[in-house]
Structure formats: C-alpha cells, structure tokens
Symmetry: C2
C-alpha cells in the first residue's frame, strides 16, 4: 500500500502529520511518497486565503495549532513570520528526491523542525543551505538547484498535478483513490490501512 | 464542567457530534448546553460560503461526510436539498428549551435524524410540526412559536452572541474559554474533560 502525502512546508498541520505518518505507515506495512506543493498555487485557482487572514478562524487556528501539537506530544512554536513562501524548500526537496527519497524525507523533516521548532525563516535561501550543510548534504549544489529552471518547472508541474488530483489543503493523504484531509484524519487513515476501505 | 455545543441543523458534522457528545460528556460527569445557530448568519459577517460551493473542497466534503459517519458507526445519507435553511428548526428548539432542555435535546436529535437519516426536508414548517407530533409534543403551539416575533428575536440574539464568542463553523464546542471546532476534535475534548487543560 502506498500513501501519497501532500503538504506545504509552511503548514503547521502538515508538520504534525510529517512527524507521525511514517510510523503509522510502517505499522501497516505501507510506504509513503512525500509530495510538497504550494498552497499559494492552490489559492490562486480556488480564491481561498491563508487561514490566518480569516477574521474568526484565524485566531482559533493559532490556538488549535499549539493545542493539537501538545495533544500529539510534538514540540511546536508558531514562527514569525507566518506563513512564508516555501517554493525554495519544495524545489530543494524534489532535487534531493531524484537522488534518494530517504534523503529528501530527512530534508523535509529538518526543514519543518527548523521552522516550527526553531523558528528559523525557511523562506531564506541561506537558511535552507545551512540546513543542508547540517545534514551533511552538498549545500552549494542544493542552492543552485533551488534556482534552476529545471526545478522551477518541476515544482510547477507537481503543483499542477496536485490541483488536478483535487488537493486543496495541507496535509492531504491519498490511499489509491481515497483522499484524507487534515492530520485529524489519521485515525481514519489507520483504519483504512488496517482493515481496507470502509 | 459544562460544554457549550454550537451547531447548525444543516451541518453533517454537527449531526455526528450531536449523536456522540452526550455520551462523552456523561462519561466525564459533564453537562452539555445545546446552542443551535445559523451558519448563514456567520457567513454574512465573514464572507464565507457553504462548503458545497467550494470547487475542490465541496466534492471532498461530500465523501468525507459519509466516510466519517461510517467511521463512527452512525447512519447517514446526504439529503437533497442540501444545505437548507434551518431558522424554523432553531426557533422551535429555543421555544422548547424554555420549558425543558431535555425535551429540546430530544427535538434536536429527532430533527437531525429526520434530515440526515430519513432525508426529510427540515426547512419545511410542515415537516417540523410532524416531527413534533411524532415526539408527542404540542405541534400547534410549536408551529406558532416558530413564527412568533419573540422566537425570531431570540434566535437573532443567539446568533449574535455566538458570533461575538467566535463561532465560525459547526460544530463548535466550548469548555469554559477553550473552543474546539469539528467533530474530529472529540478526542481532544475527551482528554480536556478527563485530565484538565493541556
């Protein structure tokens, strides 16, 4: 069984899912394909706005981010600025993923923790190359890849494909044709993996 | 401990919560105050649209309504028309609630089941008076109350108070000053009741 895991690097619920999904998948002998995309690209098509811009939902979500993190036992501090543009991080992910999906996943987790634990600004190219260096990766190559026409086109294609599939939020997980939106759907994902479609 | 349970009678997730919240509360020696409101009144203030109108979220939600109902083991069929206007049902609730909160809760559950199990149109006054009759209530008195200036003003005041408190969706549950949005927050509500704030 394969889980397609769609997330934006600026999404708190995406971060919480990223910290848990591999363990859930392994428990059920499933594998996870990580697929970063840009919520901004979705919002351009749907006319949605980032949650913090919502007059009532915005303040609630800030409280729910932190409470949900405590509920799951995952360290979390809301970064500032939030949200940020994550196209550089996503391009770097796909560049790494061509070499090794395991390395790309390590990168993704490190970027998420840099943002939501350590409040480093993951919109900055310097922060991202520093994270690469901390992971023992080729930071110069990654810095170049983040700005290369190939990776720009690649990320655009990934975002188009995500929207085509129906991705409208972060995180979303697909099991075959079945979509699950939100980290709060983990119990449903788990039952689906354990017992099949219900 | 008191739970304030805000819901719209046209909300599938509100229906699922209505079927479970009393049992959860009783398990933790808490009581539930049921507070129907109108999502339409919230949307007028926030500019939101009903979910079914969303290009990508709409189709997903229809699938998620039914899957979540199966996940919880609660009978569910998406009604047609959906959503409908629920001001008559909400006014009837508050009229009954002045006499007995238990009767009003029985009414609320019966209206939800009429809509989401039996696909009866709960926007119609005739359907609502028929439900009252089935419950052994005074259907004529309830029919009059649904159109009375007092109950109109009462529901308007309830909606204003809900928005003032920060209600933006259905269901929402407050435990003192802590808001929880969505039936998927039940596990967090349960931990809060069992262990206190986390």
């Amino acid at each position: 069984m394969v889980l397609d895991f769609y997330f934006d690097f600026s999404s708190p619920y995406g971060y919480l899912m990223a910290e848990m999904i591999e363990e859930v998948a392994q428990r059920h002998h499933a594998t996870v394909v990580w697929r970063p995309f840009l919520l901004g690209a979705v919002y351009q098509k749907t006319g949605d706005k980032p949650l913090p811009a919502h007059p009532l939902k915005g303040p609630y979500m800030q409280r729910d981010f932190a409470r949900s993190a405590r509920f799951y036992g995952i360290p979390f501090r809301l970064p500032d600025p939030f949200p940020v543009s994550t196209h550089l991080a996503a391009r770097a992910f796909y560049a790494l993923n061509d070499g090794s999906s395991e390395t790309a996943k390590r990168w993704a987790i490190a970027v998420y923790r840099a943002y939501f634990r350590d409040r480093r600004n993951i919109a900055d190219a310097e922060t991202l190359t520093a994270i690469a260096r901390e992971l023992g990766l080729d930071a110069d190559a990654l810095g170049a890849a983040m700005q290369s026409p190939e990776e720009k086109a690649r990320l655009r294609a990934e975002c188009d494909a995500a929207i085509e599939r129906g991705v409208f939020g972060s995180p979303m997980v697909w099991i075959n044709d079945e979509p699950f939106w939100g980290v709060d759907r983990l119990p449903q994902i788990e039952r689906w993996l354990a017992e099949g479609p219900f």
